[in-house]
Point group: C2
Chain length 329, copies 2
């Protein structure tokens, strides 16, 4: 057997048609009769033909890839290896793209300044770009240069986006704690500039206002260390608190460690609700009650949207955030 991969030329010859016709049926584009379609398909199967993606990309002016962009915002590349979010995004995207016969490309977007990285990604985009976690301003910039873009977090009005009910989730979390009889409920919030964190903060504020609870808040970022520190601090300032709402499971895992370190028990003395339902929630001890963010579903939906054609500007798709009860409450 020949070592060379067959080209579309070979397929056309084998099927006794022109390259154009072969191309049409391979891309199942209109304009080919049933009999010819059958012959071409047979030839494809026979020769085990697989299109050369590079040639396709050049000819059509666009690689058949979905670009996933992760902006690091100077947090260093480390966060990618430690934060459970990104791999869930990939887990959602990969099967969809694979099923479509396209490919996944990873873009870092951390060169300095970020704007250049974003512009370059936009100019080279393939079938579409998925924004894993990006500021509205940057998303808008990218979307201006490349329409086929979807954000997985709340974003600028023009940019198509998958939106989870972070506000509602935070309300539900605090309410759950309240219903468990807790009244001294503290909160550990995420980064002040992160859209998800902002919404969870909003939800928290709304809930304590509604329930008539005091505002016992601290900032913890979205990492474990921040959670540990914030929890220690909170416990120092309010030794009588009996619950914590934490805006991220990773942070919550740190908070649990801090609570335990002060000799308190979870959930008996302090109960705690996290957010995300990531691997961190189930690794914590006790495992965390948390608000499930359907990251995989959102990423998969974003990908499908992109694969289906140009998403209309401002398109929105909404996702619920649901309570998952474990041992920490």
């Amino acid at each position: 057997m020949s070592r060379e991969r067959p080209t579309i030329e070979d397929v056309a010859r084998a099927a006794g048609v022109s390259r154009a016709t072969a191309s049409r049926v391979i891309n199942n584009a209109p304009g080919a009769s049933e009999p010819l379609r059958a012959r071409v398909s047979a030839a494809v199967a026979d020769l085990r033909y697989q299109p050369n993606e590079s040639a396709r990309a050049l000819a059509s002016g666009r690689p058949r890839t979905i670009d996933v962009v992760a902006v690091t915002y100077n947090q260093g590349i480390g966060w990618l290896g430690t934060h459970p979010y990104f791999s869930r995004v990939l887990a959602g995207i990969l099967p969809v793209v694979e099923g479509f016969g396209a490919q996944v490309r990873l873009q870092l977007g951390d060169s300095d300044p970020v704007e250049h990285a974003i512009d370059e990604i936009a100019d080279h985009a393939g079938l579409g770009v998925v924004l894993a976690d990006i500021t509205p301003a940057l998303a808008a910039r990218l979307h201006r240069r490349c329409r086929r873009t979807v954000s997985l977090v709340r974003t600028a009005p023009s940019v198509p986006g998958m939106e989870a009910d972070n506000v509602g989730g935070a309300v539900a979390a605090v309410t759950h704690l309240y219903e468990r009889g807790r009244r001294r409920i503290a909160a550990i919030h995420g980064p002040a500039t992160n859209p998800c964190a902002i919404d969870r903060r909003t939800g928290h504020r709304r809930a304590i206002r509604t329930l008539g609870l005091p505002d016992l808040s601290a900032d913890g970022g979205f990492d474990r260390e921040g959670g540990y520190r914030a929890a220690r601090d909170l416990l120092d300032r309010h030794p009588d608190l009996d619950a914590m709402f934490v805006a991220c499971d990773l942070t919550a895992a740190g908070a649990v460690q801090a609570i335990t370190a002060t000799g308190r028990r979870v959930p008996d003395d302090v109960s705690i609700v996290g957010f995300d339902d990531s691997i961190a929630a189930v690794c914590a001890n006790p495992p965390l009650t948390t608000m499930r963010l359907p990251v995989e579903d959102m990423a998969a939906a974003a990908t499908r949207l992109l694969l289906a054609g140009d998403p209309p500007p401002g398109h929105r798709q909404h996702f619920p955030v649901t309570l998952v009860v474990r041992a920490s409450t």
Copy 2:
């Protein structure tokens, strides 16, 4: 300003040279005088020229990408989203590739049968393929069709590989427990077919033999649930055990939960050492003493090797596995 991206033709014209010369300096290949190099470089900067990767790929017969392959072995795509390993691999690879001006492509390799997926990846490979976690047999198959391949786990003799000292790590872990005064040391092993797990098993056996310890083993897979189950089981069968060596942090996190659930304290009653030093280790409560696998370093080294040219068959690079002491011992 024109919306069209400049081509190499534009650069050549602006610099007053031929396309070939422009190409040479852009790829900084030999065969261009200093003065011309300068003129071309100026034109590149001036026009903000960026090569069209699709055209490059087609002309040179190979896309400028590093392909990262994750084989799921029917575990479903979920593991990718929950197991901390894969994202550490990416965190190691991305900066290196980015610095080189190449791209990262993700390959799933889970179609049925796996062999086809592997063959297809080999036939379409770009600058090189990084095998995140693959059986020796599959790695060998891929390497046969594509020389520029590196495995991150112990693999077939012919396949270039990055090898961490898993055996030594396991020995060190058990020894650490022994030095802490523990004598009833149980072990929770990983999947019987996983090369890393096998080596850690070997190390464990070697250590208990050397130290004259009984073999108290159970199988836990590489996930949290398995760790929980195995630990409960072990505790049932050997209520007097005073330590556990667990072949994966995720599994160890589950084991800690199980130990706690039986009313025992970590590390007072049972101390525990994990393996990997992943995010799971620091999310556990208490945080886990563990054997650090330098995944990011290994992935980065593999990438550099690939980017430097075809790695010689059988090439090996060794990495230490070091003890990180935290609160679980």
